[in-house]
Symmetry: C3
Subunit: 200 residues, 3 copies
């Protein structure tokens, strides 16, 4: 099996999103099935919602058994080694930020392939990157952290605008790589310096 650079990032992103969902579920004292579902929903919720809105059905994880297996394996490891996994905080943040970047760009590309308006494409990218976390929070009976605590969407929108602009001037792969870096770096800085949007 040959893995491209972006499939490696995609796998790391799926793993980081799964860990985030699984930990949120463990904090609420769910059982093992609940932890698995929360890992799953966090990892594939955004892309699933995007595919349903576009009409790209069957949604991708139904046709690709690898993603569910990666999520299942990650959840088992997270449950079995929860304290060790917790100590990987910085590593997980980096993977999560890279995943956020890549998922956003994948969402934008799906929108462009369907000839949607660039603004709509950026919205689809943001949904892909962020709405797994929204579904996770809805299932756990929280107001989504994305709406009042965490700066998640702004990096996606900023990186999405970069991507659309860069696509007009450089090769697609360079535009993709640069935009993933913009989103990831922006997200990591937002966590590091606790940046927030103003409340109203």
């Amino acid at each position: 099996m040959h893995l491209s650079f972006s499939s490696v990032i995609e796998i790391l992103g799926i793993m980081a999103f799964t860990v985030s969902g699984a930990f949120s579920a463990m904090q609420k004292r769910l059982d093992v099935f609940g932890v698995l579902i929360l890992g799953f929903v966090t990892a594939i919720g955004g892309g699933t919602l995007r595919d349903v809105l576009i009409g790209n059905t069957p949604v991708s994880w139904l046709r690709d058994v690898n993603t569910p297996l990666i999520i299942l394996g990650t959840t088992i490891v997270t449950i079995a080694f929860k304290s060790s996994v917790k100590n990987l905080k910085v590593t997980l943040l980096v993977f999560d930020a890279l995943g956020l970047g890549l998922f956003t760009i994948i969402g934008i590309q799906k929108g462009m392939a369907a000839n949607f308006n660039p603004g709509i494409c950026i919205a689809l990218g943001t949904i892909t990157g962020c709405f797994g976390g929204v579904l996770r929070d809805m299932l756990l009976n929280h107001i989504p952290v994305l709406f009042h605590k965490e700066l998640y969407a702004v990096p996606c929108i900023a990186g999405g605008i970069c991507y659309i602009l860069l696509r007009a001037v450089v090769e697609p792969q360079i535009a993709e790589g640069a935009s993933v870096v913009v989103i990831s770096a922006f997200r990591i800085l937002a966590v590091r310096y606790n940046w927030r949007l103003p409340r109203v």
Copy 2:
């Protein structure tokens, strides 16, 4: 650009629904991104759910950039002038009620176009009119007000029955206009006199 009477009502309805979502979000102290998403979900959630259930994909707002722009503009104005907007209570109620009426009839028409049973068409109309508010309340971690506080669905069902009956005897546009008036007037009276359904 030529605007028909019903597109004017549709725009006013989208604006009123957006304001309702944005205000609910501000009450929960969300950040500006959260307020925007709540405005958006309240305005287009019902129609999006309907389109996904029918399989009318890509859902309409992906192909029509005007609706997202109206919602974005309305949210910005709502945030910037929140006290002035709040004072427009009666105006907003009227727009909201007109929007409810028109969205319900649009939903019924989509069901009729797909040759569904009239009862199913009325259900689709009610989903179109009411379920943006249900999604808003789910995201804000409330039990939807539609299920225990507000009389929203009964006007839609009553007006939907009117529409189905009138379609058999008068011209489509007259049936549409009359039913929108029935739904709006019923909804306004329900708010004015605090009508509720019995709890069980």
Copy 3:
């Protein structure tokens, strides 16, 4: 009208799921419309989510007016005779368990018809059987009981594995019947002996 054995079980299952949703809604003191919607969502939510993920749209209840009518009738009877219905606890548990079994197998069959991987088919069966209850709990502002209290999914997965294995060796109808019995019996025993999954 000729009713096969599995359509009888399907109707009993829909009725039991509706009663479960309606009772949860009444405990939260919803109004009659809220009780109806909760009955409806609990009964058809799982199959609807499955159909949306696969792209089997319009979802089945839009094209089949009988299911909504059964749900409407069941809700009315549940509201009118709530104390009598409550006393049918054991009967309802049996119907609910039979419904869970049948809905799971129907979901698996839809996955097999679309040529998905067997593991994905079992996931679709579990979604069909269990996610109406998840949507019910989300609407009522609970963490879904399926994720921390009730053993619902494990019987579906166990019965789903049975079904996939039996399909390879016996006739489809025998595989179906046996697997429905496995799921139902497992679920009834789980309730009777209060079996739970470990929390983490």
